[in-house]
Symmetry: C2
Subunit: 434 residues, 2 copies
């Protein structure tokens, strides 16, 4: 049904897993829906590490929001950056002007958390959006180019030492993929480089990898990474990184030009600007119904929201939570419109999956545990099923035919313009000199 | 055979069609070959307009040079920007240090020629490399986002007016693809926009399109573009463009926020720095053997070289000339090493092809002329055959399997890092205000 102006206006901020799910859950409902995002595409975050390690192209894990919402008559998209939320006046201050709402769903997600360490903020890479993933990819490849004509063996080793910090899924997946990129692909492009010079380290502060997994799967992951020649260090805490060497809390120094920070996230800064009580990682405390305590028309979901499970543990900052909360928030808004009682959010854990690279993974689904190739098949199947709507490589061929015969276009991402030729020149010439 | 240090060192500058062909022609020859380029990928330029009109992704028309040269034992690649050529000392000053040569092949290609018009240089888009193509794509999509919430009809029309300047293949192909992107794809994403507001103009200073084609094919092209709702203006000369309106020589003003300049190229500036006599478009005058008159060890090929055909007409700045000259230069270098007489370059014209968008094209091959769908099939076939080595969409599926089972990677392009988030923020917020 076409949206009517007199219908309540639901504004959703953020086109991630949660916001997108909420928008779709309101399809056909008697509401006007406006989805706002600073990018014109939805990003399939779980495969971002594949872009950073040159396994997939950016276009394959991003999909234009307008195309997703195309058939949803009551929804419209707005490309804009939300600067502030005026809870009292029920409106948003955005880069595209003021936008008023009757109901608001905040699905702004999270950003990298460097825990206030300036040196990391300046020199480390993080992996939260497409640009960062491309930056990492470009940097990795430049390190190999530099190393290929670096005479000094110590400097060459430092150029080829890649440190990943954080033993969660992102860190494990990045380290595994990095090992394969270097040892299986790049080695062919750089026949003169000695593989022994390439070092990949995975640093984790706790005493095991993948804390969300059962201990035996953590142990399996550790072994699998070792087989991939990844040096895993548990109980290793990073103190600083100046772009040339990593300093650990125990005083140890690792000469390395690359540090990928996958050790923490926190709620998007917009959340703090609300001035509402927050829980861990700066996530705003929401009622079980996902509403803000003092603003029943405002719902917070996903990484931005702090809720606890029955065991009083904070809900994890993962896609399944965001998606289920997106559904819940949409349903509760419709209940509120109908004057019905709102229902509390209940999380149904679909299990956890992490790949350790090609044909190795660990999975926990319900009571079941998988490891190795079987788990990897599960992982692959799960992701292909989830990404299929986002036109991954498996259906690019179909897209191509579709494109030509049904007049559609696949690639419609707005990336920031790449105008800093000068900078890249400079960096290139510095490479040359070093 | 593995290159030996005592073998003559052939340095090739530029990994375009000419440079790459020259490098491959020296495969197995008793020479050391170093290919230098400022990018680590070869760009399939003929399809660049597809990237700028969101028809293909950047990765699909670019391919890592190292992967192309992987099996060529006597060749190595150097990612570097050549700053100057010291002809007397036989060495290059590059961003990666000094590089000496015994033989030099300059295949540096061409850059956009704005004929000294500053306003165009500042505000117009050109289409010579991947970043420019992405810029255009991003800009086009932003114009539609802006128009989608622009209340003022005049401003909206200006936002949706796209001016392409230059009636050569690039201009014709861009205008045709632009028409299809807007009228067949974007219109679905912006249901509230009125198609009548979208204007695509193709301006050509001469009295017909595709001057390299027979007049009847030019006429056919004109009609085909009109059917695609492209307004073609012949004898229209651009005087200036301030980013808001295009001023023509006849004083006419066209309100438009987009001008794509495809009206001229000139030899890469490095050519002028040689201080050698130049012909049209700043191309250095080479001997029929492709050598520089005073420097027999230096060969110039492709867009950078000025040669005339038997009818004393300058050879066109197109890929086939560059590729054939790449072969010729390589063979002549081997002859020079053997002390044999060098052979003059003879151009074998393979014909001309230009697509006018989906299922419409014109082609001239030998005495034969094709038009319409048949010509388009010829165009498609020709390009698929030529690009197939560059892993286009048709074989992405195979790549994917390959990637997983044979440990290779498809995407290995170094783009300039996209760090100007700030700028994109600003432009975005300005959009919001306008």
């Amino acid at each position: 049904m076409k949206a009517k102006p007199e219908q309540p206006h639901v504004v959703i901020v953020g086109a991630g897993f949660g916001g997108l799910r909420a928008a779709r859950a309101l399809s056909g409902a008697p509401t006007r829906v406006t989805l706002i995002d600073q990018h014109n595409y939805h990003l399939f975050q779980p495969l971002l590490y594949q872009v950073s390690t040159a396994g997939m192209s950016a276009d394959e894990i991003a999909y234009p929001v307008r195309a997703i919402l195309r058939r949803q008559k009551n929804a419209s998209f707005r490309l804009a950056r939300v600067r502030a939320v005026d809870l009292a006046a029920k409106r948003l201050e955005t880069s595209a002007g003021m936008i008023s709402y009757d109901y608001l769903i905040l699905a702004v997600g999270s950003v990298t958390n460097f825990f206030g360490m300036e040196s990391l903020k300046q020199h480390a890479f993080s992996l939260k959006d497409l640009d960062e993933a491309k930056e990492i990819r470009n940097h990795l490849l430049k390190m190999f180019e530099k190393a290929s004509h670096e005479k000094d063996p110590q400097r060459r080793k430092a150029l080829l030492t890649f440190v990943v910090v954080g033993g969660g899924p992102t860190g494990v997946e990045s380290a595994g993929a990095l090992s394969e990129l270097t040892r299986l692909a790049l080695v062919k492009d750089y026949p003169d480089l000695d593989l022994q010079d390439v070092r990949i380290l995975l640093l984790e502060g706790a005493n095991r990898l993948l804390p969300a997994m059962p201990p035996d799967l953590s142990a399996f992951t550790l072994e699998a990474l070792k087989r991939k020649k990844v040096e895993v260090r548990l109980g290793a805490i990073v103190e600083s990184f100046n772009g040339r060497q990593v300093i650990l809390k125990d005083g140890q120094a690792l000469p390395a030009h690359t540090l990928i920070w996958a050790a923490g996230v926190q709620a998007h800064p917009l959340v703090a600007s609300l001035g509402q009580p927050v829980g861990g990682q700066g996530r705003v405390r929401a009622l079980p119904t996902l509403q803000l305590p003092d603003y029943p028309e405002v719902f917070v979901i996903g990484d931005a929201a702090y809720l606890e499970d029955p065991a009083n543990l904070p809900l994890p900052m993962v896609a399944p939570v965001a998606m289920q909360q997106g559904d819940c928030a949409a349903k509760n808004i419709l209940r509120h419109i109908e004057g019905e009682a709102l229902k509390p959010f209940v999380y149904r854990d679909p299990g956890a999956l992490a790949t350790i690279g090609r044909n190795q993974a660990v999975a926990k689904i319900g009571g079941l545990k998988f490891r190795g190739f079987l788990a990897w098949m599960v992982w692959l199947g799960a992701h292909i099923l989830r990404i299929i709507g986002f036109r991954n490589r498996l259906i690019v061929l179909i897209n191509w035919a579709w494109d030509y015969f049904f007049y559609d276009r696949a690639v419609r991402l707005i990336e920031p313009n790449c105008l800093n030729e000068v900078e890249s020149k400079i960096s290139l010439s510095q490479e040359g000199k070093s």
